[in-house]
């Protein structure tokens, strides 16, 4: 069974985003970019499934600018077998990404599509569920455990009160949560090898998908800034403050 792993190039997890002065978006010029952390977990899970024999081939795919090739090379260095870049400089909304992925999946014919539950830039948390809807496939979102057995996959999900387990018929879509695994670092020899692995470049038009945005961003602003308050010297002073506030 093949695994298709969609990955997104986003601002690095450790960088504090700055809103542009003109309020049109977040300043990404000269900012360190990386693979979306949840997608890294998805790549790792696909590799582990390949190591256990459940998956035979891993295809990474990204929708984004030419530089997203770097993100795909990271996936290849970690252990993906081949990659597809669907190149566009436009911002592509989750619904359009899902349509592109559906078209790509029709060619690749994966048994499992595994991707991050959300990207840390737009925080939408939509693409996996939308893809499942468009393909009429089951979805195991926010996964903390994935077990493939025969023609089904059992997914343990992180939900509000704890954990929940569902059984899905394959093919299926799985979206990853933080505690599914700890992604490996690519070794230097594997980074070198990744440069020779196949990477196809396509466009949204190749898949016949209209990526015109449905949502207009009117303005992007900094959140209200919280001012640092006071420091108290000891517990007694803290207790006095708490009592003043009516706590305890």
């Amino acid at each position: 069974m093949k695994a298709l792993v969609p990955v997104k190039r986003v601002i690095d997890y450790n960088v504090k985003p700055r809103v542009k002065a003109d309020g049109t978006g977040v300043d990404l010029a000269n900012v360190k970019m990386s693979m979306n952390p949840f997608d890294e977990i998805a790549v790792e899970e696909a590799i582990r499934l390949k190591e256990s024999g459940a998956v035979t081939e891993i295809i990474a795919i990204s929708v984004g600018p030419a530089k997203a090739q770097e993100t795909l090379r990271t996936a290849l260095a970690m252990g993906a077998d081949s990659a597809i870049l669907v190149e566009t400089d436009d911002e592509v909304e989750p619904l359009a990404v899902a349509k592109i992925l559906k078209a790509a999946a029709a060619e690749v014919q994966p048994g499992l599509i595994i991707l991050g539950k959300q990207a840390i830039d737009d925080d939408s948390n939509q693409t996996g569920q939308m893809l499942a809807a468009l393909m009429n496939l089951p979805q195991g979102t926010f996964a903390s455990k994935v077990v493939v057995e025969g023609d089904s996959v059992t997914v343990t999900r992180e939900v509000d009160g704890g954990l929940e387990t569902v059984k899905l018929s394959l093919p299926a879509i799985v979206t990853t949560d933080l505690r599914l695994n700890e992604p490996r670092y690519a070794s230097l020899p594997n980074i070198m090898k990744a440069k020779k692995k196949p990477l196809d470049v396509k466009t949204p038009a190749d898949y016949g998908v209209d990526i015109t945005p449905r949502i207009k961003t009117l303005k992007v602003a900094e959140p209200p800034v919280r001012q640092a308050g006071i420091k108290v010297a000891d517990v007694d002073e803290l207790v006095a403050k708490l009592k003043n506030m009516g706590v305890a």
């Binding site: 504090k16 985003p17 978006g25 977040v26 989750p94 619904l95 539950k117 959300q118 840390i120 830039d121 925080d123 939408s124 948390n125 939509q126 996996g128 569920q129 939308m130 499942a132 809807a133 468009l134 089951p138 979805q139 195991g140 979102t141 926010f142 903390s144 992180e158 939900v159 509000d160 009160g161 704890g162 954990l163 929940e164 387990t165 569902v166 059984k167 018929s169 933080l178 505690r179 449905r214 949502i215 207009k216 009117l218 303005k219 992007v220 602003a221 959140p223 919280r226 640092a228 308050g229 006071i230 420091k231 108290v232 000891d234 517990v235 803290l238 207790v239 403050k241 708490l242 305890a248």
Partner: protein, 309 residues
């Protein structure tokens, strides 16, 4: 505009998260509710009493018992033929089901709204709440999830909506529910707690977390949260996590103990009314958002605080 609001419940009682979604939907127009579940008529009766609700659609079917998205989404899509907006709380059910509905309707969802600015205009957080976007939908219908802490809760009494039974296709045959491990917790739920005591990696291990954090929480009748670092290290289960990818909370008082204040943690609690931080590192970022800070050894401070309160 006619809205359809997803009622969050466990088949016996409605969850509070529903009420913020009702308030948000009320700003758009007429509010109808959907109670989908199994043996859940009591929930529909409870929901019918929410102030301002026009109608409750009740879909009672074994296939809807655990809100599997594969089964529930087609039901919502059917009902959307005579509604203009689907509004769900941004709970784990809401986040799981809503995008599936949106894609089936060919609508681009607006996630986690913070405010309603106009008929099709909303604000929503991006980049872990570091950038607030004002967005306008151009789709014919709206599909929205609502951040619970951003809207007042609708009144749970005063309404007298009619309950209308609806049927859907039931089991889509794609997925089945195996089981759940839902933590039994006597403490207030994080997203509705008035006071939260939260612990970070500095708590060392699970046992120490229990010994230091819990007595203070008990004394204050507080909910208990944790940073991602503390959850990843296994001190507490995942449902304690406060942050960008965990729970978003906004209590009256948030007490952060041994939490340095990573961006993704701040994203989950910076709308709290009063933030109190206890940390041994006086340069920890948490102090930049804290109203009251106390620098020192938490293992001395917290027991003393618990004692003196």
């Amino acid at each position: 505009m006619k809205t359809l609001v997803w009622v969050e419940h466990d088949n016996s009682a409605m969850a509070d998260a529903t009420l913020a979604a009702v308030t948000a939907a009320g700003k758009l127009g007429e509010v109808h509710l959907l109670v989908a579940g199994s043996g859940c008529r009591a929930v529909a009766e409870q929901a019918a009493q929410i102030a301002g609700v026009g109608k409750v659609h009740l879909a009672d079917n074994a296939a809807y018992a655990n809100a599997l998205a594969e089964n529930v989404a087609p039901l919502v899509v059917d009902l959307m033929s005579h509604h203009d907006a689907f509004v769900a709380p941004a709970t784990s059910h809401g986040k799981n089901i809503t995008p599936r509905v949106a894609a089936l309707l060919d609508v681009m969802q607006i996630s986690d709204i913070l405010s309603v600015e106009g008929e099709k205009t909303f604000t929503r957080p991006t980049y872990a709440g570091n950038a607030i976007a004002t967005v306008e939908s151009t789709d014919a219908k709206l599909v929205i999830t609502v951040r619970g802490t951003a809207f007042d809760k609708a009144e749970t009494t005063g309404g007298s909506a009619t309950i209308e039974d609806v049927s859907g296709a039931g089991d889509a045959g794609l997925s089945s529910f195996v089981g759940a491990e839902i933590a039994k917790n006597e403490r207030p739920e994080l997203t509705s707690a008035k006071i939260i005591v939260s612990g970070g990696r500095a708590l060392k291990d699970s046992e120490t977390f229990q010994q230091v954090i819990m007595p203070l929480a008990d004394k204050l009748g507080a909910g208990v949260g944790a940073s991602r670092a503390a959850v990843d290290a296994g001190y507490v289960p995942n449902d304690y996590q406060v942050g960008q990818t965990g729970k978003i909370v906004a209590p009256e008082v948030y007490i952060a103990i041994g939490i340095s204040g990573a961006i993704q943690h701040l994203a989950g609690m910076k709308d709290s009314k009063t933030i109190i931080a206890i940390n041994k590192d006086e340069d920890a970022p948490i102090f930049q958002v804290a109203d009251i800070g106390l620098v020192g050894d938490l293992f001395k401070i917290v027991p003393e605080l618990t004692e003196k309160l």
